[in-house]
Amino acid sequence: MRGRLTYSRPPQDVQEHDIDTRALGDLMEASQDIHTDAMVDTGAALDEMVELGQEARARGSIDLDESREVAAQRSRMRTGAAFGGGILAAAGIAGALDALFASPAFASSATDVQILQTAASIEVLAAGTYKTALTLPFIGGASANGVVKAFATMTMQQHQQHLDAFNAAITGLGGKAQNNSDPTLAKVVAAAVPGLTGPGPVVALALELETGAAETYTVNVATLSNANAKKLTASIMGVEAQHASVLLAVQALLNANAPQLITLSPTNVANLPAAAGSVGFPTAFFPTSMARPASEGALS
């Protein structure tokens, strides 16, 4: 591609839906090919988890109450103390964490299941929210920006793939698949639905979900005991952060009344305002203040 593109001054009157849908389709198809390769890694991790789950099931049932408490304690310490509680608090808690993590492997697996069920519940909600959004004329209909529509479609599919992967991991560890939405976040979405009267509120809602998902997984990779569950989560957290990044950029352009700049074209960059170059990654270190509690979406 290098050398083919020129950054000559773009036309001033770029049409709002001036996108090459065929080219966009090709890009998405190419993405699917890359995705297939990526799934090889994920599949291997899941296979290992199935074996582990079979061993766990052979030992007996999982104590959900015990694991829920372990998950809650871990989550509080990781998000509330280790991250936000300061140096002294973090140092003092280190010993307690070590003791917690020294719990029987069986309890750890159960805790991992709850963490993964919460992750799955977030994915259920995310996929469902994009699916609903795509029924809106300004997101998935005739009046929609082509790139926004393509993004919503692709992102919905990716969340479904995340859900499938998390559920495969859960069952691999001997737990029950989670196919219900995170109950707390579901209320947030339900409350937002009446206000989804244009692209802006939809993008804001999606951004909230993506940020919550990415931050939750950022915490989870340091909390999960199972190595493959950790690998799986690590392979998803950055993708959710990318979704958030795109939404931040889209949101900024919408707020700036420049929807015509939401387009996938190598020449579009010449039109973008300077601030658009940094709005998609607001922090040098990904925060965790919006991470969901570890057992919030766990099955009772």
Partner: protein, 259 residues
Amino acid sequence: MIRRNRTPEVMAISEHELTVMTKDVEHLHEDVGMPAMLSAVEEWKEKSRTSRRGFLIGAGAVAGGAVLAACGSSSSPSTTTTKAATSGKAGTLTGDLAVAALAASLENLAVAAYGDVLTAATAGKLGTVPPAVATFATTVKAQHAQHAQAWNSAIVAAGHPAVTGPDTVLVPVVDKAFAKVTNVTGAAQLALMLEGTAAATYQSAVSAVKATSAIQVAASIQPVEMQHAAILNFVLGQYPVPLAFSTTTAARPLTDYTG
């Protein structure tokens, strides 16, 4: 200074609003992102101070002692990184600290590379540079410097000198690629490679390091590198989130540091 396009009318409206938003997110960075990571680093440092043994602490000197003094001041992109590379030597830290050293060296390489891009742009060697690209390079360079500082704070707390040089294995690769860069697109493609490498390495590090606080640091940086990559894809006119699952294929091995 970097040459900038004359902007179309729409920018007169959007620039101000986006600048305000940028200031907002800078505050967010100060209030949310940084304290979260700092707490993790502090926990790691505290463990390092109180437990100077085992996997947390490696012995010996740190690789890549050369300071990137020429970074940002040379008009020859390849010269900058090559100077640093020739002073590098195999590192002797082990365990988590070796991973931290590798990470710091990757961040140093990114800082140098973006510095070279900005220098070349300023010299007019990349043609017309859109303002968004200039902002991107400047902001991302600063974030990579912060990442390097985070890793080095743990290394220094353990009683070792900071890693100030770049990944010596990658330097010739980057130099060779950069020598062919003649425009913004080429620079963006090179940056995309660097961001992908960093993100993959951090994703791998999440499973490689032992200390929970070290995992937290890696986990707080990987998503940010992924975000850099997403915006670069957007700049290149490519779909910004091509994968449902990110991979570790491009992760650098620890031997980049240990030799």
